[in-house]
């Protein structure tokens, strides 16, 4: 960089970059409001048949919403969980396959049979007590079952499927 140049054009260029940077940052901020929360794909082996879908908050909110109040073994009080049914998410993603792999932010993976996902249970919770919840709160997405509603949801298997910090769903044969 030439040092003795205190020309006005150099100062202008820095100002513009700084501005652009922060604008992009701002945009990034704005853009991060519609960040992709969930990636759904199936890998049937044939690339022609595979589908990939991504969901941001808006897309997830656009799906039919479910909600229920339940306590869990990871929280210390009953909470209201709401969000789209996992089934609806998979339908929206148009993925086919019998086994559903749920992947979490820390790499934890759980495997579910497709037939266990029906109707409105489980849900991909996007809000707890009506508000979105951060990673620290096990968000932004948590696969939740209404444990209190049915003793069948109180099994190790179901607990294992109850992934928080859900980032991706992969459907396979």
């Amino acid at each position: 960089m030439p040092e003795h140049q205190t020309h006005t054009p150099q100062r202008t260029r820095r100002f513009i970059c700084f501005l652009l940077f922060w604008t992009f940052a701002a945009f990034a901020q704005v853009a991060s409001a519609q960040d992709i929360l969930l990636r759904v794909d199936d890998s049937t082996g044939l690339s022609s048949d595979s589908h990939t879908a991504t969901f941001d908050r808006g897309q997830l909110d656009a799906l039919p919403q479910q909600e229920f109040t339940t306590s869990t073994i990871w929280t210390d009080a009953e909470r209201l969980f709401s969000g789209p049914a996992l089934h609806d998410v998979l339908d929206a993603a148009d993925v086919s396959g019998d086994t559903v792999h749920l992947v979490a932010a820390n790499g934890y993976e759980a495997r579910m049979p497709r037939d266990a996902i029906k109707g409105t249970v489980p849900i991909v919770a996007t809000n707890i007590d009506g508000k979105p919840f951060s990673v620290r709160e096990k968000g932004p997405l948590w696969v939740v079952f209404p444990y209190d509603l049915d003793a069948n949801y109180q099994t190790e298997e179901v607990y294992a499927w109850s992934i928080w910090q859900l980032t991706g769903v992969r459907v396979s044969e």
């Binding site: 951060s134 990673v135 190790e156 607990y159 928080w164 910090q165």
Partner: protein
């Protein structure tokens, strides 16, 4: 072949009592199963519950705590070591910290799963709190970072690393606690399963036991059912096989079933009458109304009648309407299911009654025949004995004349023969009448066995006079009172036949009769009569034949012994009639010894020891009131009439005769008789009837009426007692008997104390020298002769003997014949010893020495006799 038809339902065997048992078993089983299911489900539920414990997940959470922290720490290290801290790198750091943050949050929330009572829990809680605090501090630090600089990050790192030991604590302690919880749970699960297993095993065993019991029960039930069936079948078999008709009736008289025999009896083999009432079948019309009005009462009445009589003879009707006589028995019973039923046993009596009638007819015919036989016997006895009776009587009468001793002897022979013939006839008739079964109605009478024996011995001596046989008798134990009460005729017959038999068969030696009076264990007097001979004997093997009628034992081919073969049989029967048993002890060539013993009750001896002689035509008894006693002789036979008339005249009676009963009654009313001799068998009115007529109001109603009959045994005892006769006498009647009977009845049982002038008294000097007026044939001779006549005759006999002895001593020619005759005379008189001696003389005629000694002996004996006689 119809089997027993019963229309009632066969009840199910084996149910009833056992169905409640089945119910109990079922209930128990169900209960057991229910309990098992409940317990099982409980246990299963507890196991399932275990699955909800979420222990695995909690363990994972704690295990992941350190991992998530280390990831964060790694990112932090990388960021620190990066050339430039790009936002991307910071993002990663923040993300990993957020993940760690949420993990700690989860752990903190999981605090509550630790049991606060457990000792390590406080420590864990404490550790977790510190971790949370540390995390929160870190979060603050990180959130406050603007533009992160390397130094800041290093600070954060340093701070972070502080938490590592605490994290360790948390993890290890938590995991330890969790594992122990986990193992406890597993243990409880295990024990739950074990409990379940145990329960199942018990359940299984109980089930097994119940099953076994059930099987056993089923088997037993089956056996019982079989047994019941067997019983029922055998019952049916019995009923079906019964010859009697068996009908099962309801209590109202409805037919429930019947067997083949019943179908036959009621003639309904081709139809089934089950369900019909007695009114339709079996009851005759006149019973039907009674039945119809009230069947149950009818049946009850039948039972009442049968209660008295057990069986009922009644008339019944077959299905075809034929009446028949039947015997019915009823019994109340219960059928297989407990209903009251009536069992009727029916027997068709038509055959039985026909048989009974046939038997009755046969019996009547037999009775007729028997009475015909009896009548024949009576007739024969009368017809056969009457001429003999006449002969004997005539001969008796002839003896009044002045015969030479030879003539007398011939006369004697004639009389003996006639008597023998008569005896034979009597024997035969006795046997026939015994076989005809007529009762022995001879009453017991007092008699002296000794006298009878003497008589018999005398006769025997006569018969044996041509043989070298002596006949002797003796008495022991009588103590002077030898009279007994018993069957005189039977005694006479027994002894006479035995002695006759002995005489017939003994050629040499002696015949001895021994009367032994003795006392038995009960102090009753008994008399044993022994007749022994030295004859050829009867071998034991043939003894039975000897007693059989018409059998004789012959030696070799030559039938030396003449006889009808009846003697021993008659003797035996006579002994039987007296209530004794005739014994025979004999071997071949060792003689025969007959014996029998009878009861010998005491009576006073009738006065026969001395000769009772009517002085002249005097009264029969001095006690007789009438001066001229009047007697009536009733007999349809002229000879008998004359004979009896003569006898009675001899006894001093004025005698009248009647030919038949009616005449007798007439005459008995015209004159007053003291004695009536009434023949029993007469045409028209018989002796009993005549007696009864005379007894009722005739002039002679107080007479001594003696019945006279040829056959004593066949007379009707009842008629006799009803008639009013005092006694019945048997023909032929001797004057001695007549006298005795008359005096007995006139004088009464007690003896006449007045002594009679004895002609010849029985002097028992030594038994061989006994001359008794009743010995031998002297008795009747003495009866028919006058005293001086008797004396003269006796003297003549003795002279004859003396002459014979003289002749023998002088060895005159013809002396042997004389001796022979003398022996006979001696026997006749009753001098056995003399007779024996004379016989010996005769036998030893040729040999000088024996002859001489015999002569000597005979003379000696004779002298002694003379001495006795002259002394008497």
């Amino acid at each position: 072949m119809p089997v027993l038809r019963i229309r009632d339902r066969e009840p199910d065997e084996g149910t009833g009592a056992s169905s409640s048992l089945w119910v109990a078993i079922m209930l128990t089983l169900s209960f057991g199963v229910l309990v098992t299911v409940l317990a099982g489900s409980f246990i299963v539920q507890s196991i399932v519950q275990t699955g909800r414990e979420s222990l695995d997940n909690r363990t994972w959470v704690f295990a992941q705590l350190e991992v998530d922290y280390l990831r964060f720490e790694t990112r932090l290290h990388r960021a620190i070591n990066a050339d430039r801290l790009t936002p991307d790198i910071m993002d990663r750091v923040m993300t990993s910290f957020d993940i760690y943050y949420s993990r700690v949050e989860t752990v903190d929330a999981g605090k509550r799963f630790f049991n606060e009572d457990t000792p390590g829990t406080a420590k864990i809680h404490d550790s977790i709190s510190r971790v949370v605090q540390h995390r929160d501090a870190l979060a603050t630090m990180l959130d406050q970072l603007g533009t992160p600089r390397r130094d800041d990050l290093e600070d954060i790192l340093d701070h972070s690393e502080e938490v590592i030991p605490t994290l360790r604590d948390v993890t290890t302690n938590a995991l330890k606690q969790l594992t122990s919880q986990y193992s406890a749970m597993r243990q409880s699960e295990e024990s739950a399963i074990k409990r379940f297993m145990a329960l199942s095993t018990i359940e299984a065993l109980v089930l097994l036991a119940i099953t076994m019991l059930a099987i056993r029960l089923a088997m037993r039930l089956r056996m019982r059912a079989k047994a019941m069936k067997r019983l029922r079948d055998s019952f049916r078999g019995i009923v079906e096989a019964s010859l009697d008709g068996v009908v099962l009736l309801s209590v109202e008289g409805r037919i429930l079933g019947y067997n083949t025999a019943a179908a036959k009896i009621f003639d309904c083999q081709d139809q089934d009458v089950v369900g019909q009432t007695l009114q339709d079948v079996a009851l005759p019309r006149l019973r039907q109304t009674a039945f119809k009005s009230d069947p149950t009462a009818f049946m009850n009445e039948a039972f009442d009648i049968l209660a008295i009589r057990r069986r009922l003879r009644t008339q019944l009707k077959t299905c075809r309407g034929q009446m028949f006589r039947a015997e019915v028995a009823l019994a109340r019973h219960e059928d297989a299911i407990g209903r009251s039923i009536i069992i009727a046993f029916v027997r068709d009596l038509e055959d039985t009654i026909a048989q009974e009638n046939k038997l009755k007819q046969a019996r009547d015919k037999a009775l007729q025949a028997m009475s015909a036989q009896e009548r024949f016997l009576n007739l024969m006895s009368h017809e056969m004995k009457t001429p003999l009776h006449g002969v004997i009587a005539s001969l008796d009468l002839l003896q009044d004349y002045d015969w030479t001793s030879d003539d007398l002897e011939n006369l004697q022979i004639a009389r003996d023969s006639a008597a023998a013939a008569l005896a034979q006839v009597e024997d035969v008739l006795a046997i026939s009448s015994n076989d005809a079964g007529t009762r022995d109605t001879t009453p017991f009478e007092p008699f002296d066995p000794m006298e009878i024996v003497k008589l018999i011995v005398g006769q025997a001596r006569l018969k044996a006079r041509n043989k070298d046989v002596t006949v002797a008798y003796r008495i022991t134990g009588d103590d002077g009172d030898s009279g007994i009460s018993g069957r005189k005729e039977a005694f006479r017959r027994a002894v006479a036949n035995l002695v006759d038999n002995a005489v017939k068969f003994t050629e040499h030696g002696s015949i001895n009769i021994h009367l032994v009076y003795w006392q038995d264990a009960a102090s009753d007097r008994r008399l044993t009569v022994k007749v022994s001979d030295t004859g050829p004997g009867i071998a034991p093997a043939v003894q039975e034949i000897a007693f059989a009628d018409f059998q004789t034992i012959s030696k070799g081919a030559a039938l030396k012994y003449v006889g009808s073969g009846l003697g021993l049989g008659i003797a035996k029967r006579a002994v039987d009639r007296m209530g004794g048993i005739l014994h025979l002890d004999s071997c071949e060539n060792e003689g025969s010894h007959f014996s029998f013993d009878i009861a010998a009750p005491f009576v006073s001896k009738p006065k026969l020891a001395s000769v009772e002689r009517p002085a002249t035509k005097q009264l029969a008894s001095p006690d007789d009131i009438q001066v001229f006693p009047r007697a009536l002789v009733v007999d349809d036979n002229a000879a008998n009439r004359i004979l009896m008339q003569k006898m009675l005249e001899r006894l001093g009676y004025t005698v009248q005769c009647a030919e038949n009963g009616e005449q007798a009654v007439e005459i008995a009313d015209m004159w007053r008789f003291t004695l009536i001799l009434m023949d029993i068998r007469m045409p028209g009115m018989d002796g009993f009837e005549a007696t009864m007529a005379i007894r009722s109001g005739s002039s002679s109603q107080d007479a001594l009426i003696l019945g006279v009959t040829a056959n004593l045994a066949s007379q009707d005892a009842e008629c006799f007692t009803a008639s009013g006769m005092q006694e019945m006498l048997a023909k032929p009647l001797t004057i001695g008997q007549l006298k005795e009977k008359i005096s007995h009845h006139v004088n009464g049982p007690k003896q006449d104390a007045r002594a009679r002038p004895p002609v010849v008294e029985a002097v028992d000097v030594e038994e061989e020298f006994v001359i008794s007026a009743t010995s031998g044939n002297l008795s009747y001779i003495s009866e028919t002769m006058e005293l001086d006549e008797l004396e003269a005759w006796l003297q003549a006999c003795l002279d004859e003997i003396r002459q014979a002895l003289d002749a023998a001593a002088r060895d005159r020619p013809g002396s042997i014949q004389a001796v022979h005759k003398a022996a006979g005379t001696a026997a006749f008189i009753g001098l056995p010893r003399l007779q024996s001696a004379l016989n010996q003389m005769e036998a030893a005629q040729a040999d000088a020495d024996p002859f001489a000694s015999a002569l000597l002996e005979a003379s000696d004996v004779f002298r002694k006799i003379r001495l006795d006689l002259s002394g008497a």
